[in-house]
């Protein structure tokens, strides 16, 4: 089945990002198609490559990036929410005159329309948040 996932909280502070990650892994293992994972609200903070969690803890962003590479997942960070919270890719950084960017590999920044499209195209939308 074609599934979409919405993640509304950043990593570590709430379990939402972990739960979404485990859910996506299980869905992929069962042969379902993940149409898109959309990161909204503080969820955009999943997409920073600047995070360095303690070595004995999981690195949620790295896990998303690996999962995206292995399974060609579409990880979309909401542009409006990302601007508010300081998540930038190279284009955005240039456009906004910021020195450098922090987006992690496998994530792309795009508009809220991508969330609505996920709702239309996927057969189920599963939301993880606070």
């Amino acid at each position: 089945m074609k599934l979409a996932v919405l993640v509304n909280e950043g990593p570590y502070q709430h379990q939402a990002a972990d739960s979404a990650l485990q859910f996506v892994k299980a869905a992929v293992a069962k042969g379902h198609e993940i149409f898109r994972v959309f990161f909204y609200h503080d969820g955009v903070n999943n997409g920073t490559r600047f995070a360095i969690p303690p070595q004995d803890d999981r690195n949620i962003t790295v896990e998303w990036s690996k999962l995206a590479e292995e399974h060609k997942l579409d990880l979309v960070v909401c542009i409006a929410a990302a601007q508010r919270r300081g998540i930038l890719d190279e284009n955005e950084a240039k456009r906004q005159g910021k020195s450098g960017d922090n987006i992690a590999p496998g994530f792309r920044i795009s508009g809220l329309g991508q969330l609505i499209e996920a709702g239309i195209q996927a057969e189920r939308l599963v939301v993880f948040g606070d």
Partner: protein, 102 residues
Amino acid sequence: MAMLHTVNKSPFEKRSLDSALSHAIDGAAILMIEDGIYGALKGTAVSAKIEKALGNLKVYVLGPDLKARGMTEDQVVDGVKVVDYAGFVDLVTEYDKVQAWL
């Protein structure tokens, strides 16, 4: 199939379990995840809510979240089914849609 309702907060802290239960039709399902699993346990001040809900709803609890918090399957209210993440995925596909009571 009706709707799958997910609840992720402790019923001792937030009122989202109440909201979910009072908006679930006969035959709908409740899945308790994250801190929501505390609502699925026997012998607490809120156990009666789930015992009553089992009359017309299916109730599930996420096993990995239960174990993480030091709770075992035999501490869960009788009639509540324990599922793993694969079971969570199955519930999402079996029910028509999912509502997260965040």
